[in-house]
Amino acid sequence: MAEKTRDHGEQEAAPETAEGAAAPGDALVVAENVHKSFGRLEVLKGIDLQVRRGEVMCIVGPSGSGKSTFLRCVNHLEKLTAGRLWVNGELMGYRQKRGRLYELRDSEIAAQRSDIGMVFQRFNLFPHLTVLGNIVEAPVQVKRVPRARATERAMELLERVGLPDKANAYPEQLSGGQQQRVAIARALAMEPSLMLFDEPTSALDPELVGEVLDVMQDLAGGGMTMVVVTHEMGFAREVGDSLVFMDDGVVVESGSPAEVLSNPRHERTQAFLSKVL
């Protein structure tokens, strides 16, 4: 099957089906034979991937190939139908005990998710809250950070995404690019160890794409572990550490961006790249 991103996964073998197999040392995300079906439609057909700490992995592939579904499996917005997925050494959504899987409670799943930031194609900011309200909501409500401290931190984040003067605006007063930068700040406010991006620039006017990619590049430079579903090949080449090409629910090819982009080995990859490059 597909090559895994093994360029840095030296010593450890993929966790076999051994009981309670923990995720290997330096991998933040380990997906092992991940399957996902919606009814009779099998969308993911066995995904094996590893994302190291600090790695920026870009996932590309044609529409409907299961990229979003895979991202949603990572933070358990979708339940896997088969396979295992670890983030930060924790099995997502389940507890494994004496050879059996036990579903986690909602509160336990929520706790797992709070360590994973997610940025959506359609921003999904809370329209009834100000920009500041959007950013402090989760830290205050979930982590019980005092509001004053959360606000201070939110202002730092707004500074970082270049929107310090928009703190009291409502989302719909902002351009798409500004909204997406607020959405990134909102996710960062939870101080996640992993950020997932699902086509963060696909809903933007072309002239606004750059400002969002700049923020993401800055984030990558700061050492954040990121999994980015994108059609921005320039970003994938310059910022990405690894590139995964997905098609029809499987990983067809993966490797360093330069390698995959300039020298695709599989026919399907070649066909796809010839259309988007």
Partner: protein
């Protein structure tokens, strides 16, 4: 010189204000005349027909028991709406929970209370004391399982006389509240469903719990959709408190007005008084509704835009 044949249109030439003769509508004047005559006849009747007996009406319309009746009506409206909204939220959340037990309970509840007329409910609840003359608090089915376990006595801890618990007012209020809960459940369900699914997903991704998402994200956004019909429900409820007269709730406005009318053989003036009271109160409520809706229609959006025009830009 700007005829159709000329090459250069001469701008500014035709900018003079239009002073055309407007179309006349003679039939409007005819209709207005007829209506005016009918209105005059009606007012004439109001003042000459002795059945109206205005002095008697004015004397009694503000009498002490009637004014108390107005307060009872207002309190019953507020209480049944508050209980109804809370119940409606619970029922709507149950209905959308995906838990088959809760969904069925909520569906059955709504089915029953939307299907039975409020008047029938009011009378029914007024007669609930027939079902249970005393209400026991204790373990259920004790008369079966205690003997079976060979135990003596019962498992009832204390008891209340149903007629003290279900006084007319409580019974009537219960009927109105439970009924309102069913209607509010539908309104709130529609409001909750109007909120984009992406909102829930974004909240889940941030690690928020289900109840937090409901309280902090979904419900506040549903309010925009929920508030206008809730205003209508409140006004409808105010009018439906008249049904309390059939529980019967003797201190209620309509009951009092009718009682005075029957006692003094002046039924019609007191019915007119009832109309005037209900009209007065609903008019106040409708005014309030107008302002609330105006506020909510521009909610977040309009006010926010004003803010941006005034400040950020």
């Amino acid at each position: 010189m700007s005829g159709p044949g000329s090459k250069e249109p001469t701008p500014g030439r035709s900018a003079a204000p239009i002073t055309a003769v407007p179309v006349r509508y003679p039939e409007r004047w005819v209709a207005a005349g007829i209506i005016l005559v009918l209105a005059a006849m009606f007012v004439h009747m109001l003042f000459t027909n002795p059945a109206f007996n205005w002095p008697f009406m004015l004397d009694n319309m503000f009498s002490e028991p009637v004014v108390r009746g107005v307060w009872v009506t207002l309190s019953a409206t507020v209480l049944s709406m508050v209980i109804g909204v809370v119940l409606g939220i619970v029922l709507a959340v149950m209905r959308l929970s995906g838990n088959p037990v809760l969904v069925t309970v909520s569906w059955t509840y709504t089915w029953f209370f939307r299907g039975v007329p409020r008047l029938v409910l009011a009378v029914l609840f007024g007669n609930l004391a027939i079902l249970y003359s005393t209400i026991h608090i204790g373990l259920p089915f004790d008369n079966y399982w205690m003997p079976w376990l060979g135990l003596e006595g019962d498992a009832r801890f204390f008891e209340i006389d149903a007629r003290t618990l279900l006084t007319g007012y409580t019974a009537g209020l219960l009927a109105l509240s439970l009924s309102e809960g069913a209607y509010m459940a539908e309104i709130i369900r529609a409001g909750l469903q109007s909120v984009d699914k992406g909102q829930t997903e974004a909240s889940q991704a941030l690690g928020m719990s289900k109840s937090k998402i409901m309280r902090r994200i979904t419900l506040p956004q549903a309010m925009r959709v929920v508030i206008p019909p809730t205003g209508n429900e409140t006004i409808a409820m105010l009018k439906d408190t008249a049904l309390l007269a059939y529980v019967p709730v003797t201190i209620e406005l309509f009951y009092q007005l009718q009682a005075i009318g029957t006692r003094s053989y002046q039924i019609f003036p007191m019915l007119v008084a009832a109309c005037l009271w209900y009209l007065a109160i609903t008019s106040v409520l409708m005014t309030g509704q107008y302002f609330i809706e105006r506020r909510f229609n521009r909610s977040g959006r309009g006010t926010a835009r004003e803010r941006i025009v005034g400040g950020a830009h």
